[in-house]
Symmetry: C2
Subunit: 361 residues, 2 copies
C-alpha cells in the first residue's frame, strides 16, 4: 500500500502548510525520462505553428520570452507525459517513451490549452511565476493559442499508428469533453449560492480526473494493451486526479504563501467553492451555519479569513477533504490491482502518485 | 461555366449593394436536405452536453432562448453540411445524407466553435440578429462553449466508421488548424500598420477556405472516394471560401445596411484590413497614397467614410477584390473538372457556389 502524506494522517493545525508540499522532495525519475522525450517533440510542433500563434504558445510553454527570444529553463514538470510513458511500460512496450509519445504530447497540449483558457476566464495574472499569456499578448491571442493547442493534440494522435491512434484519439476527445464540462461546472458554481460536496466532487473528477485518466491509459492504448489493463490504468488516473484536486483545495486554504505563491486563505477570500468548503457548508453543524452566513456576503474580508478557516475546520471540512484524498489514493491503487499492473511500471506510477498528491504540479 | 454575379460583372457604383445579395433568391435544395439530416443529430448531441455548457450552445445554435426555452426558427443555413452531403453524392454514395452525416455535423460544430470565439475576440454584440452568446452568458461560458464544440466535432468523426472516420478526423484537424492560424493572422493584422494583399489573401484562404475545403471533401472521404476526387473537391471548397470572403469584404464596405445589418462602410470605419483595402493600399496609385494617410489615424471618422470608399475604388481595390471572387469561382470549377465530378453532385455544388458567393451565409 502506498504511504500518503495528506493532512488526515497528521493532527489538524490551523494555517499549517500541507505536509509533503515543502518543495524539497526529488522529482520522480519518470518525470525526467518523459520530459526528455516530450520536450523536443513539443518544440518541433510549436515551431511549425503560424508565427502569430507560435509566439503566444512558445511563451506560455516557457520556450520563449515575451519578445520571442528562446529561453531554456521553461516547461512544466511533465507529470502527465510521465504517466503516459509508464502506461506504455505497463503494457509491456519495449520502448515506452517512443510508443507513448503521441499520447504524452497530446495530453500535455490539452492540459496547456485548458490553462491558457482558464487564465483568461479567471483573469489570473500569474502562472508558473510568470505573467499569464493573455496579460502579455491580450485575450484574443490567448484564446486562439488555446484553440490551436487543442487542435494540435488531435492532429498528433491521428497522425500516429492507424488503429491505436484512432482509439487513443477517441478517448482523448472523450476526456477533453469531460474536462471542459468540469470547467463549465467550476465557472457556474461561482455564481450559484449553494453547491453540494457531491457536485464539487463530480466537478473535480471531470475537470482534473478525466485528463489524468487519459494520460495514464494513453500509453497502454498506443501499445495495444488489453481492455482490462487500459480500464484499470484509466481509473487509476481519474482517482489520482481527484486526490490531487483535494490536496490542491487544502493548499488553497491552508497552504503557506511560500509554497502556493498566493496569500494564505486565498480561495476563501475569493469565495471559491472547494471540497473543504462545500463539505463544511453541508455538514449541518453550527460551524457550518456560521460559515454560510460569513460567505453569504460573497467575498470574505481579510480580517475574517482566519475565522472562516477555523469554521471550515470546526465543521469537519478540512478533515473530509483530507480523507477524500486518502480514499482516492487507495482507490487508485485498487484500480492498478484490477488492471493487473505490476513490476517497474507499478512502482513508477505509485511514485508519481505519491509525488503529485504531496505537492503542486 | 457557372454564371457569377459578383461586382466585376456590373459597372461599379459607389455605395451600391453587391448584386445577388438582395436576400430574395431561393435557398438551394441541397441546403434543405442537409439541414433536415443534420439538425436532429445536432440537437441530440447538444442535448447530451453538461447543462452548464448546453445552455450556451443551445442558445448560440438557435435551439433555445437565453432562458433555455426551446425555439424552433433557429439555426444557420447549413451551407457547410450541404457541401458535405453533395461531396458524398459525388463519390457515388447511395445514401449521401447518411454517409456524410458525421462530416456534415463536425464541420457545422467547428464553424460554430469559431463563431463563438470570434464574437468574444471581436466583442461583437450581435450574430444572426440576436445578442451574441458572450454578451448574454459572459466571456467564460462562451469560451467554454466554443471549446466544447471543437471537442465534440472530433468525437463525432472518431465515433464513426473505423478507417474513413480516422482519415476524415485527421483532415478536419488539419483544416481546423489552418482556420485557427487564419484567425490569428486576422487578429494580428489589426495592430499591424501594413498588410499586403497577398497576406490578406492567405489569411482568407486559411480562415474561410480551409474549413470549406474540408466540408466539400468530407462526404467523399467518408464514402471511401478516391484521392483524385477528394483533392478536387477540397480545392473546390478552398477556392469557394476565398470567393465568399472577397464578396464578404465587398459587402463590409459597399453592402447596404438592410442586407448586412451593419452601417455602410462599417469595415472602413473600424480600419479593418480586407482584400479591397489592402489592394488599394498596395496599388501605388495617388488614391492609394491618400487612402494610406486617411487610415494612418486608425479609425475612420463618419464624415470621412464616403471619401475613403471612393479612394479604395479609385485605387482599383474594389475591382481587384471583385476579380478575385470571379477568378476563384473559375478555379473552383476547374477543381471539379480535375476531380472528375459530374452529374447531379456537380450541379448541386455549382448551385451552392453561386448562392454563397452571391450572398451572406
Amino acid at each position: 500500500m502506498i504511504r500518503t502524506t495528506t493532512p488526515a494522517t497528521r493532527p489538524p493545525r490551523p494555517s499549517a502548510t500541507v505536509p509533503g508540499a515543502d518543495g524539497r522532495r526529488a522529482v520522480p525519475e519518470a518525470f525526467v525520462r518523459a520530459r526528455a522525450a516530450v520536450e523536443p517533440e513539443l518544440r518541433r510542433l510549436v515551431g511549425a505553428l503560424a508565427p502569430e500563434v507560435r509566439r503566444v504558445v512558445a511563451y506560455h510553454l516557457g520556450f520563449a520570452d515575451a519578445d520571442g527570444r528562446a529561453i531554456t529553463d521553461g516547461g512544466g514538470k511533465a507529470a502527465r507525459p510521465a504517466l503516459a510513458v509508464l502506461s506504455a511500460e505497463a503494457a509491456g512496450a519495449v520502448r515506452p517513451e517512443e510508443v507513448a509519445l503521441p499520447g504524452a504530447v497530446a495530453v500535455e497540449l490539452i492540459h496547456n490549452f485548458s490553462l491558457l483558457h482558464d487564465d483568461v476566464m479567471d483573469r489570473d495574472l500569474e502562472r508558473r511565476h510568470r505573467p499569464t499569456a493573455w496579460s502579455v499578448f491580450g485575450v484574443g491571442p490567448a484564446i486562439i493559442a488555446g484553440d490551436a493547442l487543442q487542435t494540435l493534440a488531435h492532429q498528433v494522435l491521428l497522425a500516429g499508428d492507424e488503429r491505436f491512434g484512432r482509439r487513443a484519439g477517441a478517448r482523448l476527445a472523450a476526456a477533453t469533453a469531460r474536462m471542459i464540462a468540469g470547467q463549465g461546472q467550476d465557472l457556474a458554481f461561482e455564481s450559484r449560492p449553494e453547491v453540494s460536496y457531491a457536485e464539487c466532487l463530480e466537478m473535480s473528477e471531470n475537470k482534473t480526473g478525466a485528463l489524468l485518466g487519459f494520460a495514464t491509459s494513453a500509453g497502454a492504448i498506443l501499445a495495444g494493451g488489453d481492455q482490462r489493463l487500459i480500464d484499470g490504468l484509466e481509473a487509476f488516473g481519474v482517482h489520482l486526479g481527484v486526490a490531487y484536486q483535494a490536496v490542491d483545495d487544502l493548499l488553497g486554504l491552508w497552504g503557506s504563501p511560500e509554497v502556493t505563491g498566493k496569500p494564505a486563505g486565498n480561495d476563501l477570500r475569493r469565495g471559491k467553492k472547494t471540497l473543504p468548503t462545500t463539505a463544511a457548508l453541508g455538514s449541518g453543524t453550527p460551524a457550518g451555519h456560521r460559515l454560510a452566513r460569513l460567505l453569504a456576503a460573497g467575498e470574505v474580508r481579510d480580517e475574517d479569513v482566519a475565522q472562516g478557516l477555523r469554521l471550515i475546520e470546526d465543521a469537519g471540512g478540512r478533515d473530509r477533504a483530507a480523507r477524500e484524498a486518502d480514499a482516492r489514493v487507495a482507490m487508485a491503487v485498487d484500480a492498478l490491482d484490477r488492471g493487473r499492473v505490476d513490476g517497474p511500471a507499478r512502482r513508477g506510477l505509485l511514485e508519481v502518485a505519491t509525488f503529485v498528491v504531496g505537492r503542486d504540479f
